[in-house]
Symmetry: none
Subunit: 199 residues, 2 copies
DNA sequence: CCTTCTATATATAACCA
DNA sequence: TTGGTTATATATAGAAG
């Protein structure tokens, strides 16, 4: 039984949120289907749960709807739009991806040198991705610190420090946009926090 | 006043269909927003009206959610040869490549979990690539052994050992197609060969 | 994770402005 | 097109299974 208007904010109780998600998700997908059938519209819905599970509906084909969206949202970039050059582009990108993921047949690699290049590139990529992860985590920590500051302030009654805290937060965010120090910042933050260790 | 259950088929009356579209479309977008807020989910909705007008909602960023969708549904692998699906494929592959190489803006990643996924994938890929490099080197060694055998044979006159060497080479290649043992095989092969050390 | 129950909240078809 | 009004259909929170 619904006891009152529900507040438009995250449901904090895990079980309730999960139950609500399950029901509302089904409701949303049903509504999407009804809209597409009744009104003859092209509809696509994508839902990712908190745990990363995917739920979707598409009245036509998801890639086609997405592509239509892209074409609508932004006039697609440069490069040949004929099937020939696009096919070439696709083949190149797919081969490039397979090589990066080590999914090629051995004969696809021209030499051990090429494999060495790819390995080196992967290591750099891994380093990039880890740095970005550290960045994201440090941003989250700064946010939490800022929130903590606000909470503490509520008890101390000192108001001048609020703006100072926010200012620092913004500066930190800006500086993290450059890659140079992010990894260091990231790792330093997690000394003594093994469960947050950056893998 | 709703006089009865609505039939789940296209509303034939133009005015009614248009009215229904307008109301249901708003309802759908609202529901999508509620789901994302209440249940902390990543939600994206795309609606094209019959006349081609676009209506959308996305809790995060549409391109980000679309990209996440593609990473999840690997269905892109196959697909049509029309420009629409090819363009989609290109978009997906390019974004996928940027993420693997850590070249995306930080905001392109939805969470540290996603970055963790990518990092794990990169580590597996690196392992694959190293294994393949080891394979290639081992094949080259087998070839050299075979050639050495042939050269020796020219002097000794014994011919049967050549085919034996080739047979073993093929078996090794087959077993390496599965990931489980390739790394181990690769490293074992190069014990005592420091200049060929696998990076 | 799913279903069912039931009281209530929401959505919406038809109508009107 | 857009925005109310109202009677009804649907959706769903909370509890239980």
């Amino acid at each position: 039984m619904v006891r009152g208007k529900i507040q438009m904010k995250r449901i904090e109780n895990d079980a309730s949120r999960q139950m609500s998600f399950s029901k509302r998700r089904n409701g949303l997908l049903k509504k999407a289907h009804e809209l597409s059938v009744l009104c003859d519209a092209e509809v696509a819905v994508i839902v990712f749960s908190q745990r990363g599970r995917l739920y979707e509906f598409s009245s036509h084909e998801m890639p086609k709807t997405m592509d239509r969206y892209y074409r609508h949202a932004k006039q697609v970039q440069k490069g040949g739009s004929d099937t020939a050059s696009m096919r070439t582009k696709i083949e190149f990108l797919e081969q490039s991806k397979r090589k990066l993921l080590g999914q090629c047949s051995l004969s696809s690699y021209s030499s051990t040198d090429e494999l060495q290049d790819i390995a080196s590139q992967l290591e750099r990529s891994l380093s990039n991705v880890r740095a970005r992860k550290a960045q994201l985590l440090s941003e989250q920590i700064h946010e939490l610190n800022a929130k903590e500051g606000l909470l503490l302030e509520e008890h101390s009654g000192a108001k001048s420090c609020v703006q100072a805290t926010h200012k620092q937060e913004n500066e930190t965010y800006s500086s993290l946009s450059s890659n140079s120090t992010s990894e260091q910042v990231g790792t330093e933050l997690f000394i003594g926090l093994p469960e947050m260790q950056i893998v």
